[in-house]
Symmetry: C2
Subunit: 139 residues, 2 copies
Amino acid sequence: MTQLEDFVERARLARLATVDERGSPHVVPIVFVYVDGIVYTPIDLKPKAVPARGLRRVRNIEANPRVQVLVDRYDEDWNRLAYVQLRGRAELIEGGEKYDRSLRLLEEKYPQYATLPLAGRPVIRIAVERMVSWGDFSP
Amino acid sequence: MTQLEDFVERARLARLATVDERGSPHVVPIVFVYVDGIVYTPIDLKPKAVPARGLRRVRNIEANPRVQVLVDRYDEDWNRLAYVQLRGRAELIEGGEKYDRSLRLLEEKYPQYATLPLAGRPVIRIAVERMVSWGDFSP
């Protein structure tokens, strides 16, 4: 794993940008795992009242699968600022081997899922096509 | 100032999402100030080699002024997660009263600018039309 990939995978939070059907951007914080060029993020940080498919990010992805994930680091020492943009294509997965694996990886990374079961929740799978980075990535 | 606005203004970093001419999203971390429904963010976190007008975020805004700014809070206690989306229209300003004021506000918020002069750098001004929030905003 490269230093960049390590920086991405260790981040606790990222941001997912999508575009709606009128061409407006939409960006939300996400928990996620990154493995082998793929970002997985579950649909789980929203009021239970909204069905997954009604979520703005899901509707956007269905209309336009091009997304960008941002992982960044802020530090009051601006020499240590850094960010990585992961550009790729997103799809919703709800079952199968990749889906099951993504749930296991999310549960390993986030102990919070021990009491907040992921089973049955759709996952956004993003195949990363390009990574663009800026800044200092030393730990 | 509302609790939401206070949460926004106190954040040290936000993320700015724009859309490029092909309809793909773009998102970068930004330093910023928020005052009276306006977000100001300077063009300054990039290699000096790129002229401001050549920056992706600037070209995107000129083609499509609809942007979204995200301010969020992560905490390992997920009951404390929170975010605010600020949806609005962006324009580049390079002089005048609003420009001068934005530089003063940025210098007040970020002591880093004492040694990293802002004078002459363009500023993105975003008139916020809508704020959408989620989570717990208690300090």
